[in-house]
Amino acid sequence: MPNSPPQENPYDDWFGVDETTVYRVLSEAMGRGADFADVYFQQANTMSISMEDGIISRSSTGVDRGVGVRAVVGDQVGYAFSENLDAEAILEAARTAATIASGSARVPPQEISRPELPNRYGLDRAWDTVSVAERLPLVQKTEATVREMEAAIEKVSVTWHDRDERILIATSDGVRCADRRPMATLGCHITALRNGQRQSHGAATARRQEIGWFTDDRIRDICRKAVDRTMILFEAQRPPAGEMPVVLAAGASGILLHEAIGHGLEADFNRKGTSIYSTLLDKQVAPEFVTVVDDGTLPNDRGALNVDDEGTPVERTVLIENGILRSYMHDRISAAHYGVPPTGSGRREDYRHVPIPRMRSTYMLDGPHGYDEIVAAVDRGIVAESFTNGQVQIGAGDFTFYIKNGWRIENGKRTAPIKDVNIIGNGPEALRNVLMAAGDSKLDDSTWTCGKDGQGVAVSLGIPTVLVKRMTVGGVNA
């Protein structure tokens, strides 16, 4: 079975169906007058391995296989799925989806188009050719590397996860495309003991990659990050409570973009008028040096896609260009609502869910300032470095992210470490309040999974060092 690009006709090999069945299903889904319909076949094979107390004590495998059928009328959606891929079961799902409409049947065109897809995560070795015995040494090496790095470590747990997902999309417009999407994740979580106190933290890397990518050096990087982040917690304190300037360290602080801007620019919220950004298209929303993109084209990135889950090619979408709001992220429904081309942002967790506008890899491009210049500009504030959660209220625009590691800044100098504080701000206000951005933009390839409407999808994010004039920092009152 070739890996990627997908084979000429994966219907039969992957899902045991043929074009005749698919056409019948699409016709059935449009049987009551839908504008369009699509069918989404998926099979995901997963393997997990976990190590605790020095023993590889558990492995898990999973097969998730099914097909979802959608019928769309304007912004109305009918949806059903089946895990039985027999023609009659899929047709039954199509009849359920069709009930969103109440008109007379439409007939999908017979012409088929197979768009040329890029190859953003082709692997030399697909995960189904790798034995469990080849994966185990990566896990054991990670555990041993962490233990060698620091004597104060009491507990190390290492988790490995890989996923080999095949999808096939057929739309009533005649588009037929297939994609094979790998993902591999290596993470470690540690607890250390010092002077009777315990601290825990971890690090992980998740990419659309193959086993050969996990070299000793890359494993060492993950371990180093986990150990450093944990050990600094022994010296860390809560900062003072209240509003203060916040320096976002390059990389993982891209969570600010994801929460403060990204979700609010997903076009479903905007076509419904429920986003605080609904009326801000083509307006200046940030200083001129701020450019933010949502990009599905980065090779082997966690947020990369060859095609979205509606069969639309995936692009690099400029959201904010030189401070001006340029585009929302669209699925087919919102693109039709706004009369623009879709941006390849229609994503779903799996065949059980309808596609909706989602982020892929969201990051800010380099700015004109220097890191030292940025820290020196702060009289009393904090640096935010690692994070364990984030959330946003779309309408009010209030967003939060939880800082696990950071630093205080006093008189223009980075001083003591801080930990465990939530930061809360307002999206458009925080954008206006970006005072400086450095030239050190980088992506964070940790295990970011974004939740929306009960669906989790893999994303990545990034940012250069950025200074925000003020946000509300959790902490202790004097």
Partner: protein, 438 residues
Amino acid sequence: MHSDLKDRACQTLEMAIEAGAQDAVANVGEHTDVVFAYRDGKLEKVQQSTTRGLSLQLFVDGRYSTHSTTDLRPEQMHGFIGNAVALTRHLQPDPHRVIPDPALYAGRMDVDLEMDDPTVRDLPRDVCLEWLGKMDEATHADARVISATSEVHYGWSASAQVSSNGFEGTRTGTGIGYGSGVTLDEGDGRRPEGHRFVYGRRLEMLPDAVAIAQEGLQRAVERLGSRKMPSARTVMVVHPEAGGGLLRHLVGALSAGAIQQNRSFLADRREQQIASEWFTVADDPLLPRGLGSQLYDGEGIAARPMSIVEGGVLRNYYVDTYYGRKLGWQPTTGGASNLVFAPGDRGLEDLIADAGEGFFVTGWLGGNADATTGDFSFGFRGRRIENGRKGGPVSEMNITGNYLDLLRNLTAVGDDPNPWSSFRTPTLVFRDVEFSGE
């Protein structure tokens, strides 16, 4: 349907033993889920499907693995199970990975938990659409409404579990809920939201759908004009619906897994005072109609009520077979079912009157907690408390602290446990909470 699932589970178990497992546990389940959503005067979404899956735990030569699949084609099963057993042999032996002691299966209660409502299985589409039409109308009863979505969710599930050392269990349940989310135009670009959703095992438990929709609108209206207040150390009154979000982090720290991995601030505190005398909570899997009710847990352990904290004293942890063996402890149950709090004798308004000044938290926004240290920090939305009454709405503020301090500062609980969650928290009142704002 029951017997289908059980037959399938038994066949899977047999195949696993034939393939070389010494012990195995098989579970086969199915879940039907129906959703209708209405937005701004029209039907927006119809969704109905049944998901089926099989999961298998294998104990092979002292090694352990778990497997799941939705591909139930008979011709696939032999390969799936054969590969699973072969994979397990590559792992390392772990003396603590053993199938649960069958003595723990014994004593299962023979009671009706009232989990099944036939009217939910037979709910006509027209009834749902009629509710939604009225709910949609109720949510638009204010000129400032930009958009309002009302939804009905319902479904039913069934599962059968069997083990090679004699466990057999089947269960079924229904669930139904509805509610509305409303977005208003604040006038300055901000679009505050309000939500109200109720969910229970049986239709007859739910309040009137229109009243729920009206509450969704009312909650949005109450968010108009929200602002940030100055940082302060003061009283926090937590709404019953928000209590679960605050206290759910305790459940993780109470698990034997967290304790054995040295990631629990509640380790070594059994029989110690960890909270004020007002804090009494039990895990009650036998609560009739409870969202977390069950006659046996995920391992098959016969369910029984268990005191967790009594008058502030920690009584029990959640102990499963694996981590119990690692710690040398008897298993209790692997995870929370329904958390039932001993109520106080006063309601929310009285408790706010007593508080005098402070903040009334109605919901959380982000934040997190560290189970190793008990440190937490959360964003919240809510209202001021001024002169013993609810004041204006607040936003963009955080609370920060450590759970051991917070629990010791619990000064009162209400008589109003939240029935729409397995976390049945009443109103909670804490003193000396660190708030950060302006």
